[in-house]
């Protein structure tokens, strides 16, 4: 199974090798040493392989991921898993801003905290943060589930569309058009599913969470909403 040391191998050749992997590759487990906070690590993958990164990564690790499983034994910079389509990205440490931004599918698990704008413009991805998330998270979130075991910062879910935000701890404040909603059976099932996929079923129960989502009052331009535009 390939072991790539980024202290000696250029990032370009690592990404190129990962892109060349066919769907049925036998090289299904990659270990990356000395990532050194490099940006754009393991981006654009399109095969069911596992990439374990032994250290911290810079911006956009796992960007636009399809099918691959990426595990970062360290912290992640801005935009980890941005626009991911499928597969799984797991960050053992903390994540910087815009984690999972615009993600359209797959699962992003952050075992530490996530900074501001976690899940911004998310479009179908499931994000689980074991710690807390920063301000302006799930801004304009369109689809998918954001599950936070800790607390959420200011203006959670500002201008949110149809994404579901599940928070176990406290929410500092809600953004425009984001409200607490009763948890229906379907919401609970979805939440339980995400928790299970993240491997946290033994740690938390869906009953511990509150659900936040769109009040849908900004869905149409209207004089009474003028202050929100």
């Amino acid at each position: 199974m390939p072991v790539v040391d980024l202290a000696t191998v250029p990032l370009r050749s690592l990404n190129a090798d990962l892109h060349k992997l066919p769907q049925n590759t036998n090289e299904t487990h990659w270990t990356i040493r000395n990532p050194g906070g490099k940006h754009a690590l393991a981006v654009g993958l399109d095969a069911p392989v596992t990439v374990e990164i032994e250290g911290h990564v810079g911006y956009y690790c796992g960007g636009m991921n399809k099918e691959a499983t990426i595990v970062v034994a360290g912290n992640a910079g801005v935009g980890v898993g941005e626009n991911m389509m499928s597969g799984e990205i797991r960050i053992k440490g903390d994540a910087s801003q815009a984690a999972g931004a615009t993600g359209r599918g797959g699962l992003l698990v952050i075992e530490g905290d996530a900074s501001a704008r976690c899940g911004i413009s998310m479009k179908g991805i499931d994000i689980v943060v074991k710690g807390s998330i920063g301000p302006m998270s799930a801004f304009m979130a369109q689809e998918g589930n954001l599950v936070v075991l800790g607390d959420a910062g200011e203006a959670l879910g500002d201008s949110i569309y149809e994404a579901r935000l599940f928070v176990r701890g406290t929410v500092r404040s809600l953004g425009a058009d984001c409200v607490e909603k009763p948890m229906e059976a379907a919401d609970r099932t979805a939440l339980a599913g995400v928790i299970a996929r993240a491997g946290l079923s033994d740690d938390v129960s869906p009953d511990e969470f509150k659900l936040y989502g769109s009040a849908r009052t900004l869905y149409h331009f209207h004089v009474d909403n003028a202050s929100a535009y």
């Binding site: 754009a40 810079g58 801005v78 941005e82 359209r104």
Partner: protein, 456 residues
């Protein structure tokens, strides 16, 4: 009148001179359109939204003239002597630069803003003449990819429909920072146009009034942009040219920062540039006319030693080959057209006058593209209206129009003695107005005065 004065005997009405009453006088400040806007605002309580670009009169390419050949410069023969129009975009970093036969591209317009047949027609027309089309704020459709030989994939703040498969299918990537009609504004698509298909492509509920983000979600500022460009290059294995599109506002610095961030191509869009739907106040009051933006952008490229290495595409009110030639002479490598391309397809066709009248407008002034009721079937998602546009015939009209633009550009270039349209230069131009002379940095006609330049 005072009591001491004897009243004049009243003249019989029929003898009254015609000037006794003045004609109704409209205010230049409160002109009829302004008054109607105040009345509209008072009635609805929401700003006016429309399509198209700035409609006010602005300094433009019309204010420039070419000098042509003379004793000291000799012209080229039309038809016999070659005058090249081809162009390469993206050779700075991309492994697969783009080759176009003419320096006129089709600007980004979204599926959503435009109907499926309209997007198809753009692809067909552009492909016939060997140029590119561009996706828009709604992702890439298979029809579009299928009909456009060279397709530029926009990477916008909203990221609607963004996915790595389409990224890999694209021939180039255009990171949109802003648009000339609304530098600093996000997209809008009103509920009438959020059809089931559009909604699915954008992951939005059907029928809502969509406001898209005005800033990119995962980067801010030029240092981040550089990393974002690196990511897109890594995802696509450094194959595709990467363009950066900005609305004209601070063209010198925006161009310089785009180049420093690693762009292959800079796209600069002036305030006359069209939009599918934006607040009227934004369209008319924010940004620079393209005439004022080209020279600062070219200056930035020259200062960095990157002119002709990083290509500059300009847009915003390009209508004729003369406009194209003037843009190139000022230093652009190519132009992009939006509004004119839609007109070539059949937008604002006088034959539809009766239907425009029903919408309270008239052919030539129709700009309620956001309402989705376009009788020409172009700016709509209504299947019945969209079916009115024959993509093959409309594509042919666009190809004809693009050919005329290219021929006109060559006509002017030959008259100036140039064997390639890129050899046009500012020295070939003069300005008709002091404003245009200052903005385009060419002398006022008949003088050697360039306002603002040293030596005056």
């Amino acid at each position: 009148m005072t009591a001491s004065l004897k009243p004049m005997p009243a003249a019989p009405l029929s003898d009254m001179p015609a000037t006794a009453q003045t004609t109704p006088r409209f205010s230049a400040t409160f002109d009829p359109h302004t008054i109607s806007e105040i009345q509209r605002a008072a009635a609805t309580g929401i700003y006016d939204i429309r399509g198209g670009g700035a409609k006010r009169k602005l300094p433009h390419f019309d204010d420039l003239l070419f000098l042509g050949a003379s004793i000291s410069r000799y012209p080229l023969e039309g038809y016999r002597e070659k005058c090249g129009t081809d162009i390469v975009l993206g050779a700075r970093f991309a492994r697969k630069p783009i080759h176009l036969k003419i320096p006129i591209t089709i600007a980004g317009m979204s599926f959503g803003a435009l109907s499926g047949p309209a997007k198809e027609a753009l692809g067909r027309g552009a492909t016939i003449v060997g140029t590119s089309t561009t996706t828009g704020d709604g992702g890439m459709t298979p029809e579009e990819r299928g009909h456009s030989q060279t397709l530029v994939y926009q990477y916008l703040p909203s990221r609607y429909g963004m996915n790595p498969d389409d990224l890999r299918k694209a021939d180039a990537i255009e990171i949109v920072i802003g648009q000339g009609a609304k530098p600093g504004g996000g997209g809008m698509l009103l509920g009438q146009k959020i059809s089931p298909r559009v909604a699915r492509m954008r992951n939005l509920p059907e029928g809502i009034d969509q406001r898209s983000a005005c800033r990119h979600p995962d980067w801010t500022g030029p240092d981040d942009l550089e990393i974002k460009i690196e990511e897109l290059r890594e995802i696509t294995d450094w194959e595709k040219p990467i363009y950066v599109k900005v609305g004209a506002s601070r063209p010198y610095y925006d161009t310089a920062l785009a180049v420093k961030s690693g762009a292959d191509v800079v796209v600069l869009d002036g305030m006359q540039g069209g939009t599918a739907a934006t607040q009227e106040v934004f369209i008319e009051n924010v940004g620079l006319p393209i005439l004022a933006a080209i020279r600062p952008a070219v200056q930035a490229l020259q200062d960095l030693g990157m002119h002709r290495k990083v290509q500059l595409i300009v847009s915003g009110g390009i209508r004729t080959g003369a406009d194209v030639a003037k843009a190139l002479a000022l230093g652009a490598d190519a132009v992009a057209i939006g509004t004119a391309a839609l007109i070539a397809l059949g937008d604002n066709d006088p034959r539809l006058e009766a239907e425009y009248a029903k919408l309270g407008t008239t052919a030539g002034a129709y700009d309620d593209w956001h309402e989705g009721r376009d009788p020409a079937g172009i700016t709509t998602q209504d299947p019945e209206l969209a079916a009115r546009l024959d993509p093959v015939k409309a594509g042919r009209r666009l190809a004809n129009y693009l050919s005329v633009l290219a021929l006109e550009t060559q006509t002017i270039a030959r008259a100036c003695g140039k064997s390639h349209v890129h050899n046009l230069e500012p020295e070939d131009l003069v300005a008709l107005t002091v404003e245009a002379a200052a903005m385009a940095r060419v002398p006022l006609a008949g003088t050697n005065w360039i306002p603002g330049s040293a030596g005056f």
